[in-house]
């Protein structure tokens, strides 16, 4: 499956959904890398993500680093408590801009 995306004035939003684990993370990586190439800024909407493990987090880190390299903004939106806990554990809440 592919993830829904939206574009608004150069900002691409990728709507992730479901449980992002080792099985799903290759799709997530592909979607985020494409979005960074396509737009001038990236928002990852996490409203429908109930679970994310280290392989999903790794995709976010990769997209964040590529955005930085391209001097683009990178933000997370609508992070659910379960995923927020994981980001906090990894101290990534201090790294990512979370809306």
């Amino acid at each position: 499956m592919t993830f829904r995306t939206a574009e608004d004035g150069g900002r691409v939003t990728v709507f992730l959904s479901g449980e992002i684990d080792m099985d799903r993370s290759p799709e997530v990586r592909k979607a985020l890398v494409e979005a960074v190439k396509r737009g001038r800024a990236l928002t990852v909407d996490m409203a429908d993500v109930g679970y994310m493990d280290s392989s999903g987090i790794a995709c976010l880190v990769l997209a964040y680093q590529q955005s930085n390299g391209a001097k683009q903004d990178f933000a997370l939106a609508n992070v659910q408590p379960r995923v927020r806990k994981v980001l906090e554990l990894a101290r990534l809440d201090k790294v990512f801009r979370i809306q």
Binding site: M22, D23, D53, S54, Y64, K85, L89, A90, V95
Partner: protein
């Protein structure tokens, strides 16, 4: 001896020697069994020895058998006796054979063993006679006889020595020819046995699907087998199966086996009722059965709907049911073997229904109980121990693993059949394990693949819920186990698809223990440290999460020394509960 006689003697010696070397040469590439060759050899012997007549007798039949005869294969002289057949101990010819000593008779008429000419069909007067046995390699195979020296005088000791030497050479030629024939015959028989064994092997079921309920294995002790097994899938989902053992070994048992197997193939589909099926096979077997032979046979019908087997047993070893608990129940035969009574045509053989459920029903021939398991006499206990050892193997490969314990040198044909509902057996094993291990909440074997992680998380969450933990606590543990499984898939098996992960979760006091076993190359625990969080990069977070989300991550010594065994512990107490 005067000068003329001495010169004559020397000339004869020379001619003997040249004859001897000539014959040895001929024997090396010809066969004395060939009548024309035998005749030409005899003619040359007679000429060289100045003999009036000569005959070659060859033993026909086994010398230890009283019916064996000495038969004249070639004969030269005024009154040939070719074809004459005498008992092995008859006459001077017989005496030469039985004593193994050359015989020189100056006056045959006065010898008590001499058979008078009319009886031998030789109308000329026998004045002087020599016989020498044909012997080589411990076999006495014939006698060469020369009669009457031309020119009158009797044969002497030197003549006898020469004849003995010629006979020894001829004996060697005959024995060589016989052994070559025997070898050729043995090779021909061996080829035929191999062909027969191939035909028999082809009668056994092939390409049985791994998830089939009935699996079999058969290996003959020698080339051909008196055992067989077979199975026929019925359109309604049931399976008719059979296992049989023909009394005796060798080709006669193998032929009866083929007949019984063919009868089962023919009637199994049409009469899928064990009792009637056995009666039908028996009545047809009896029509042509060799007296004294019999067949022990079990036929049955497996019904997957009831997970039971209905069997009838004609004198065979009791089928053995292994219950999931490890208990064994034998089902002794209720009727005699096929081919003995031959009166049951209108009767049915008695039927027994065996509730297999989550257990496994084993049928085997006496090669299983009377053979040697890992070098020790098998017996009933050995068979049960072997079944127990391999109870965890997949049914499709279990019998081969069992048979391997009997080694390569079988004393008797070995045949096994197992009937099992694989899915039901797996469930039963888990239930039994749970019963045996207090506190065990989950025991599951999973393929080491990313698409199984969701199932892993659900299993962990369910176990946590059962233990009374809250949703967040459960989710934390599920994530830790997910991360551990990822490490196994990624770094243990390195993406190889055949690996498995054994997951077990048990409650231990006020905490849950999650154990993950794999068979990947061993991982050094120090390689699995969490990384510093200052280093923002993809990957490497898994072990950090495992440590933060649980109360303990430990590598244990793997069972059997293979693979890795990781234990995650999380305390149930506290606010997270």
């Amino acid at each position: 001896m005067n000068a003329v006689a001495a010169a004559d003697e020397r000339s004869r010696s020379r001619s003997y020697l040249s004859l001897l070397s000539g014959l040895m040469e001929d024997f090396s590439h010809s066969r004395i069994g060939d009548a024309a060759f035998a005749s030409s050899v005899l003619t040359r012997i007679a000429q060289a020895m100045d003999a009036e007549a000569a005959s070659l007798f060859i033993v026909e039949g086994d010398p230890s058998d009283s019916r064996a005869r000495l038969v004249c294969q070639a004969s030269v002289g005024p009154s040939p006796i070719q074809g004459l057949s005498i008992p092995l101990d008859r006459g001077i010819v017989g005496r030469a054979l039985s004593s193994g000593q050359p015989q020189l008779i100056g006056d045959p008429a006065r010898d008590p063993d001499f058979v008078h000419p009319p009886a031998l069909g030789t109308p000329f007067a026998v004045r002087s006679l020599m016989c020498a046995p044909l012997m080589a390699m411990g076999r006495k195979v014939g006698v060469v006889e020369v009669v009457n020296r031309l020119g009158g005088g009797p044969f002497n000791e030197q003549d006898l020595e020469t004849l003995a030497a010629l006979a020894a050479a001829a004996g060697l030629a005959v024995v060589n020819a016989q052994m070559a024939e025997e070898r050729a015959e043995q090779e021909r028989l061996q080829r035929e046995l191999e062909l027969a064994a191939t035909v028999q092997r082809d009668l056994l079921p092939r390409d049985v699907p791994a998830d089939a309920a009935v699996h079999g294995f058969s290996r003959p002790a020698r080339g051909v087998s008196g055992d067989f097994y077979d199975m026929i899938a019925l359109p309604d989902g049931r399976t008719v199966f059979a296992l049989a053992d023909v009394s005796g070994k060798g080709m006669n048992a193998a032929l009866v086996m083929v007949k019984a197997a063919t009868l089962f193939r023919t009637w199994g589909r049409r009469v899928p009722e064990p009792g009637r099926l056995l009666a039908r096979i028996e009545s047809e077997l009896c029509e042509t059965m060799t007296l004294g032979m019999f067949v022990t046979m079990v036929v049955g019908v497996w019904d997957p709907a009831t997970r039971s087997a209905r069997i009838a047993n004609a004198g065979h070893e009791p089928p053995l049911l292994r219950r999931p608990s490890g208990e064994f129940v034998p089902f002794p035969a209720s009727d005699p073997p096929l081919g003995i009574v031959c009166q049951l045509e209108n009767n049915r053989y008695r039927e027994t229904t065996i509730e297999v459920g989550g257990g496994a029903l084993y049928l085997y021939t006496d090669g299983a109980t009377e053979g040697r398991i890992d070098g020790e006499a098998a017996g009933e206990d050995g068979v049960r121990g072997l079944i127990e050892r391999h109870a965890g193997d997949a049914a499709g490969t279990r019998l081969e693993a069992i048979a391997a314990h009997y080694g390569n040198e079988l004393r008797d044909d070995l045949t096994w059949l197992v009937i099992e509902d694989a899915a039901c057996a797996r469930r039963a094993v888990r239930t039994a394990a749970r019963r045996r291990t207090p506190g065990l909440l989950v025991s599951q074997s999973l393929p080491a693949q990313a698409d199984q992680l969701k199932i892993v998380r659900r299993l962990v969450e369910a176990a946590a819920h059962q233990a009374g933990a809250g949703a967040e606590w459960a989710s934390d543990l599920a994530m830790a186990v997910d991360e551990a499984c990822q490490n196994i898939i990624r770094h243990g098996y390195r993406g190889a698809s055949a690996g498995r992960i054994e997951l077990s979760i048990r409650r231990k006091g006020e905490s849950l223990d999650v154990e993950l076993c794999d068979t990947a190359p061993s991982v050094a625990p120090e390689d699995c440290k969490g990384r510093s969080l200052e280093d923002v990069r993809p990957g490497g977070l898994g072990t950090f999460f495992m440590q933060r989300l649980t109360d303990g991550v430990r590598f244990l010594a793997p069972r059997g020394g293979l693979g890795n065994r990781l234990l995650l512990t999380k305390k149930l107490g506290g606010s997270a509960r």
